[in-house]
Each structure stands twice: as C-alpha cells, then as structure tokens.
C-alpha cells in the first residue's frame, strides 16, 4: 500500500482505470452467463409448447385424463404415464428419505471415525453410477429376485387384507411400478444423504454438547437439536432427490414394464413420462404422435416446476415462522 502512495498520480489512475475495466468485463461476462440460462429455459419452454400445440388443440384437457395411448388410431392420453411418474417418485421418496436420513445421522453422530470415510465414499460412488447400469442391474439381478421371493411373499401376506390386497395383487412379473420405485429409491439415496450429512455437520457442536451435558440421549439430541436446526437443508436435499426421481429415464424404462395402463396393483407394469418419451420418440411417425410425446415432456416440465415451487414456498414459510419464534 505504501508504494502506491509514492507512485506518480498518472500511474495510479491507469491502474484504477484498468481495474475498473476488469470489473466491468467481469460484470458483463457473468451477466451474460446468467442471461444464457434464462434464454435457454425460455427456448425450451417455447419449443415444448410449440411442439405440443397440435396435441393440445386436438385433445384439450382430456389429454391429461385419458388412459388410452393408441398409436394406430392416433388417440393419445397421458393419464397412465403421469400416474406412473408420480407414484414411482412417491414410493421412491417413501423408501429413500428415511434411509438417507438414517445414514446421515449415523455418519455424523454415531459412526466410529475409521468407518466414516468408507461409508461416505461408498455413497459418493453410488451417485456416480450411470443410470443405465442401475437399469441393467435392476433387470438382470433385482427383478428375478423380486419375482422369485419378494413379490410372491407380498401377494401371500396381503391376500386377505382389504385395500392392501389390491395394492399387491397379481402375477409376480418381477418388473413393474414397485421395482421401478425401488431402483429409484436407491438412485435418490446418495443425493439426499450427502446433502443431509452436510447440513447435519453445520449444527454448532456447542448446541449438541449442551444437550448431551443436560443428559439427553443421542436420539433426543437428533430429534430436538439436529433435525430442527437443519430442516431447511433436509427439505432441499429431498427436493433434489425428488427431481431426480421424477425425471429418471433409463433405469426406469428397463424395469417398469412399459405398459400404458393404470392398475391398482403396484406389482403391475406401468410407464412413466420420461420412459414413454425415450421408448417411442425415435419411431414416432405422424404429427400427432410426435406432438403427443412432446406434450408429455411439457407436462413433466410443469410437474417439476410445481414441485420446485412447492419446495420454495415451504422453505419461505419455515423461515418466516422461525423468525417469529426468535
């Protein structure tokens, strides 16, 4: 700093102007990067809407409520893929979220130091496996196991339980909605786990130690200190996992059975939006067929948007109420 004062005024101003130039450059470059995202998003929306227009015009709102998907007569309805997408994602979260949080709690609170590294690495590896590998594994390993042992047991167990016997009915194919949901739950696991673990680690040790000092059990510390402190982060992680579950294509199409039908049983084959698009797009001839598939894409876009919006809303609410408490 002292040298700067000694330097002649002209040189100082040239440095300053250069700095200003650099700043301006940085600002415009980063702004351009941000604008590119918006432009691309806009482009995607416009092309989806434009491509889906023929289908929307022909089928109108009934597109969402019709189950039939008939390429021969070119009558298309998206009810089955929408149902499959929502149900598989929901079950995947039902299984994946508790396990993920359990892993995160174990790693941050209970795990011996030497085991921490291997478990964390294993989870990161799980995230790095390409989805096609999950699909092949699901089809060749998981599906036959489910078919031989798990599904017959489920059918036998719930045979005489009203409601549940509808959920677990019918020939055990090994593949179907439930298998797809199981694969998805494994796939969302690393995302939710690593984020929850990270937010658990941000809980101030002082708080936890005070609780322990008061004689709290580990469960009480987790329940009353760690979870409330990090709920915002957990919800963020869950939403990220949900986004993946909704959009996953390759692994799902291998194990879901790809049937455009809505069946009350979770063991029955179904389909999801992204699996339908991936399967049928290359062979879709005719304007209406292609357009209906693009309309499916638009619906998935809207569903994802709604999920994200809900998450945002939830987070905003929670922040507000926290503010009131303190």
């Amino acid at each position: 700093m002292t040298t700067a004062v000694v330097e002649p005024a002209s040189e100082t101003s040239s440095i300053l102007s250069r700095n200003r130039l650099m700043d301006a450059l940085l600002r415009s470059l980063t702004r351009a990067a941000a604008i590119i995202v918006l432009v691309m998003l806009g482009g995607v929306i416009i092309s989806l809407v434009d491509g889906a227009l023929p289908a929307i015009k022909t089928f109108g709102f009934s597109f969402i409520t019709t189950e039939s998907w008939n390429p021969v007569t070119e009558k298309f309805g998206a009810a089955a893929p929408i149902y499959g997408t929502l149900v598989t994602a929901f079950i995947a979260m039902l299984i994946g979220v508790p396990i993920s949080i359990g892993i995160a709690i174990f790693i941050t609170e209970l795990c011996p130091r030497w085991l921490k590294r291997p478990i964390s690495t294993a989870i990161e590896l799980l995230a790095g496996i390409p989805s096609i590998i999950y699909g092949i594994w699901g089809l060749f390993i998981l599906a036959p196991l489910l078919q031989a042992y798990v599904q017959p047991a489920l059918i036998a167990t719930f045979e005489n339980v009203p409601m549940l016997n509808n959920l677990f009915a019918g020939p055990p194919y090994g593949i179907g909605i439930l298998t797809a949901a199981l694969i998805l739950s494994i796939m969302v696991l690393p995302f939710i786990t690593s984020i929850t673990r990270d937010v658990f680690e941000t809980v101030p040790p002082m708080l936890k130690e005070s609780a322990y000092g008061l004689g709290c059990t580990t469960w009480e510390v987790v329940r009353h200190i760690v979870l409330p402190y990090s709920k915002t982060g957990i919800i963020g992680g869950i939403m990220l996992g949900l986004g993946r579950a909704l959009g996953e294509t390759m692994a799902v199409t291998f194990v879901i059975g790809n049937a455009h039908r809505i069946h009350s049983s979770l063991l029955a084959p179904g389909t999801t939006i992204s699996a339908s698009i991936a399967n049928e797009f290359t062979e879709a001839d005719g304007v209406m067929y292609t357009s209906s598939l693009i309309a499916l894409g638009l619906i998935l876009f809207v569903i994802t948007f709604i999920v994200l919006a809900c998450a945002r809303l939830l987070l905003a609410r929670m922040k507000k109420s926290e503010g009131r408490h303190s």
Partner: protein, 349 residues
C-alpha cells in the same frame, strides 16, 4: 508466456489436423434407420472398408428415425423395416428397395416344453396377445399340441416397449390372420397392447421371456437362435407346420412376387407355400431419386451393389436371408431408371 503460446500453437495444429482428417473421411457413406439389419450392415461395412477403403456411418436409431433423417436430408439413405407406401414415396420423390430378409419368431418359457415342441397358428397367437387366451392349458392351444402337457399357468405376454419394425411385421401378420386383431388393435410400429409387459428392444423382450416362467414374446430370429430360446413352430397359410429357419424364410421370400409389387411395397407376412415361415420380413432402403451430392449417392449404391453380390455368405452367418438374384436384378434396374445425379443424368449405369 512462451510455453503457453507453444501449447496454443500445438493445440491449433492438432485441431487443424483433426479437421483435415475429417475432410478426408467425408467419403464415408451415411445412413440411418432400422435396428434390425444393423448387425449385417455393420458386418458388410467392415468387409467393404477393408476392400475399398470406403466406410459406412450407419446410425441404427430405428425405422421411424431413419425416415425422419432421410426426409431432413441429413443422410444419404434411410433404412426402414416398414416399407413406405407408394404414394408417400412419390410425394417424397424417393424410391425404396428390399436389402435383406429375416424372420420374427414367437418365443416362450414354459417349464418342460422344448424348443420347437409347441405349435401355434396365427389365430391362437393373436388371441394370446389379446389376452383372450390367458392360460397355457387352454383348449385352443391343446388342440394344436395333442402330445404336449401344458400347465394351468397364466400366460405372461411380453411385447416391445419401443416402437419397432419388428412389432410392425408381427402385428401385420396378426392383422392378416385375425379379424379381431385388425379391428381392435391394428398394425403399426407400436400399438396399444391389450395385455402384457413391455421390454426395451429385442434383447429386453428376450431377457424378460427368459426370466419369466409362463411367458411368451416375439423377437427377431437371430436373437432367438443366439440366446437358444424356446421358439414355437407355426402353422402357415397352407396349413403346414414349419420351423423358423433360414430355409423357411427363403421359401416365403421365393413365393413373393416382387415384380408386381409397385415401389417394392411388399410385406412378406403370411405368404403361401408349404415351407413358408409366416412371419418373414424384409428390410428396406430409401433414397431420393435425385441425388443432391452425386458422389455420396453413387458411393452408397456401389456399397449396396457390392453387398448384394458378395454379402450373401455373411448374411447367412448372422441368420439373415440374402435377396434372391432375380430380385437383385429388379432392384438394380430400378436404380438405373429412377435415380438421377445432380445434373439429371442417370446415376447408375
């Protein structure tokens, strides 16, 4: 700084080199379409490249995709399992011709039933795939198989999940032999299946049938043979029981009258003849009549000509059936009269 500049020079040289080698490789023939003939096209291309140095860049993206690509003129030829109708060809200003043949085969997984032991006819097959026959010990199946004991097991139908030329040929045959199939389900590369689960690709169907006890599916012959699957025999149009093999496909093809088929629009399903396999299928090449790039189109034709003349043995090895010599003659005559180069002169002499 100098190190940086040196790297920069090196990189730009490398890029220029890559661009140059790309230009040198531009002689490659480009095509896109059906997945069914991909193994034989790539085998031919390999041998052809060794002989002539001209390579083939074939994207096996599906018949529908192939038609889209040729319409967009991003490739020199399109390949499809579902022949285009004459009107559609005329509208495009294109011609098509059959390149090689194969067969679609029903495959089953029933405990105690050996390959070729079970016999089905078209109507029974259509009823099974419509869910009208749902048990293996149904009287309709039993009547065709007096010596075979079949279990009282539910039939699990496995079909293709993706749109496919295989499905087109399979549903076309079912539509030929079953009125209710034609009316209720129809014929296309993908249809609204009344029952069953969808596997992705031939391998997906083959795998699902192998895994699921009591299942039935349909695959290309090569898949059934290579995976040693339990295929069924079929009763053909003449009422004779036939096994799926190259001879039966060739018999069906021999009966087909290509000379009378305008624009080579001919589907080989349900052909007459004592030895004809009822689900035989040809796969087609589509090209524009007027070549935008004479060189590229001529290179493609030379490859097809070479494959017709030298590719028969390779086709046999991969369980495809080469086109008969009479059909090849017919095809090359069509090239000579219909295909024009950029200046309007005949492309194939």
């Amino acid at each position: 700084m100098t190190a940086f500049r040196k790297t920069l020079t090196r990189v730009s040289l490398a890029v220029a080199g890559a661009a140059f080698s790309c230009a040198a490789m531009a002689a490659d023939i480009t095509g896109a379409g059906a997945t069914f003939p991909y193994p034989i096209y790539s085998k031919w291309a390999d041998a052809y490249k060794k002989e002539t140095g001209v390579g083939l860049n074939y994207q096996s993206i599906g018949s529908g995709g192939g038609i889209k690509q040729i319409k967009a003129k991003t490739v020199t030829f399109g390949a499809t399992d579902k022949p285009l109708k004459v009107e559609e060809l005329e509208e495009m200003g294109a011609i098509q011709w059959p390149m090689v043949m194969g067969g679609v085969v029903p495959v089953i997984n029933v405990k105690g039933v050996a390959p070729g032991q079970l016999v089905l006819d078209g109507k029974t097959l259509a009823d099974i795939f419509q869910g009208r026959i749902s048990k293996w010990n149904d009287a309709a199946i039993g009547k065709l198989n007096p010596g075979v004991t079949l279990p009282s097991k539910a039939i699990a139908v496995v079909h293709r999940a993706d749109g496919s030329g295989t499905t087109f040929n399979f549903t076309y045959y079912l539509g030929q032999v079953s009125e209710s199939w034609r009316v209720n389900v129809g014929v296309d590369q993908s249809v609204e299946w009344p029952t069953g689960i969808g596997g992705k690709g031939n391998e997906g169907v083959a795998n699902m049938v192998t895994q699921t006890d009591g299942s039935i599916g349909y695959v290309e012959y090569a898949y059934a043979k290579q995976n040693k699957m339990t295929y069924t025999k079929m009763i053909n149009k003449d009422g004779k029981t036939v096994s799926p093999d190259a001879d039966a496909f060739a018999a069906a093809a021999a009966n087909a009258d290509w000379a009378k088929a305008k624009g080579f629009y001919l589907i080989l399903a349900n052909q007459p003849g004592a030895n004809s396999w009822p689900m035989t299928a040809a796969t087609f090449i589509v090209m524009y009549k007027k070549a935008d790039k004479t060189e590229d189109s001529l290179a493609a034709l030379k490859f097809f000509d070479w494959a017709y003349k030298n590719g028969g043995k390779m086709a046999d090895e991969l369980d495809y059936v080469p086109m008969p010599a009479s059909v090849i003659d017919l095809v090359e005559k069509t090239w000579a009269t219909n295909l024009k180069d950029a200046s309007g002169a005949a492309l194939w002499k």
